[in-house]
């Protein structure tokens, strides 16, 4: 696969850039469950090297999303206060590289595992300030009308209901059995809806520790926008605050700043005053959405469609943690 892809890429990129490239090295990056991601080093005849990132759709992926979604989301934040890679190209068909893909420039920096404590030490404060401020900027950003139009689905239902319906459908289609804790959580969400936020924002959909690049004390890029959509800005905040991303230090979300400090920073940057009851709803929603993703991963693994160990890991560890989060939230409501 890799040799064939290299040869296809060489020919495709030479045509795209109108330059004769002769050497390419594709190195697959471990961890992405929804796309096959490759680090590409490509050289022309004068030995000039370019560093690129190629994201290919998979036959079977954890979350079925279109390349166009991610491309449009990145487009919305080019040259903004939200650092994102520079886009080069996108294709929704498989005629060029055998699968739909997106190509962008490689950014400096590394991504950490969201499950490793103190991974940003000694720069937790600097990175934390940027992490929560950037999320506030995403919530605050006015979306270009063309991009807004592309993302609009024309549903008359409130955003919370569209999102909840979507993930509950995944749970009920992919579950291996009935999980009473999760079902109780779903019923609670439908019975106690949040007040719809007046602000419609671009929601990243997976804004969390591990989905950004950093170099020492600086965040260099926000990645993995494949679940982006229009919606309530509290959705991203609830997801980013989820205790799953700081399981061994729950009061310090994403192993960065203390929870209250993070919330205040987000409020200041987004210029949105949070209704604490609504935030609680979105935090429970985050755990239910997480369960949908982990259940879907378990189903992919069990059916043999995709036996990448990350699918088994997702079903076991994050699945357990989010179930416990649901239990904690529901119990605190009795």
């Amino acid at each position: 696969m890799s040799e064939e892809l290299s040869s296809l890429f060489l020919s495709y990129y030479s045509d795209l850039s109108n330059n004769e490239f002769s050497q390419v090295n594709l190195e697959r990056i471990f961890g992405g469950a929804s796309r096959e991601t490759y680090r590409v080093k490509i050289k022309d005849s004068s030995d000039n090297e370019e560093s690129l990132i190629l994201r290919l759709s998979q036959d079977s992926s954890l979350i079925e999303t279109e390349q166009k979604t991610e491309y449009l989301a990145y487009s919305a934040f080019q040259k903004s206060r939200v650092p994102v890679p520079i886009l080069i190209d996108m294709s929704e068909d498989d005629s060029q590289l055998g699968a739909p893909f997106m190509l962008m420039e490689e950014l400096e920096g590394e991504a950490a595992s969201p499950f490793t404590p103190n991974v940003y030490s000694p720069y937790e404060e600097d990175i934390g300030n940027q992490f929560w401020s950037i999320l506030g900027q995403i919530a605050k950003k006015e979306i270009d009308s063309n991009i807004f139009e592309d993302f609009s689905k024309g549903s008359k239902k409130p955003f919370w209901e569209c999102e909840l319906d979507k993930w509950v459908k995944v749970i009920h289609e992919d579950s291996i059995g009935v999980e009473p804790i999760l079902e109780s959580g779903i019923r609670h969400l439908y019975r106690n809806p949040p007040i719809e936020n007046k602000r419609v924002s671009m929601v990243h959909g997976d804004y969390r520790s591990g989905n950004f690049l950093y170099s020492k004390n600086k965040i260099t890029g926000i990645l993995d926008w494949e679940m982006a959509h229009l919606g309530d800005p509290l959705e991203d905040l609830g997801w980013a605050l989820s205790p799953i991303w700081s399981w061994q230090d729950k009061e310090r979300p994403a192993y960065l700043l203390m929870r209250e400090e993070a919330i205040k920073l987000w409020e200041k940057t987004s210029e949105i005053k949070i209704d604490r009851n609504d935030l609680k709803w979105w935090e429970l929603f985050a755990a239910v959405k997480g369960m949908a993703i982990w259940i879907s991963a378990g189903n992919e693994f069990k059916s043999g469609k995709n036996i990448d160990p990350i699918n088994l890991f997702s079903a076991w560890i994050p699945g357990d943690i989010h179930l416990e989060v649901i239990l904690d939230i529901l119990e605190s409501n009795i």
């Binding site: 697959r28 109780s184 019923r187 061994q248 160990p309």
Partner: protein
């Protein structure tokens, strides 16, 4: 006496993580093999207790349903394990699925009624079920193995 299956898995995991994975140059393949090692390690830790844990969970659900729900003996008896019979893991799992469906329906009924006392008791059952099943407490062990 032969070594237990969980001991075999434990050793396989250690070999994968410490011996074979570092030999692979390709970063993606190395990480993938390392993840397999970690998952086999979890399997080894949970292997021996899988059957008895399911049996205990089924019994706990039956006890709660009889004490706190609208159901009676005839509803739950098919899912009981009689003392001198031995059910396979698959049979225990099937019983468990059926009991979870019954439990879910009864909890929904309590939620509609708003019965706080019984809801508290079911959350205590949920906690116990989750505590017995979860493998997330092994996350520290995984990190140790990977480092």
């Amino acid at each position: 006496m032969k070594p237990d299956i969980n001991i075999a898995l434990l050793n396989a995991a250690q070999e994968i993580i410490n011996r074979f994975s570092p030999l692979i140059d390709d970063e993606y393949e190395r990480s993938r093999l390392g993840s397999w090692g970690a998952l086999i390690l979890i399997s080894a830790m949970k292997f021996n207790e899988a059957g008895s844990a399911l049996q205990k969970e089924n019994l706990e659900i039956i006890d709660w349903l009889l004490a706190s729900s609208r159901l009676d003996e005839k509803d739950v008896n098919p899912y009981r394990t009689i003392e001198d019979t031995c059910k396979s893991l698959e049979e225990l799992d099937q019983d468990n699925q059926a009991l979870r469906v019954l439990l879910n329906k009864e909890v929904e009924h309590l939620e509609k009624k708003g019965d706080g006392i019984l809801l508290k008791s079911v959350f205590s059952l949920f906690r116990s079920m989750h505590q017995r099943r979860k493998v997330s407490e092994l996350i520290g062990l995984l990190q140790q193995a990977e480092s």
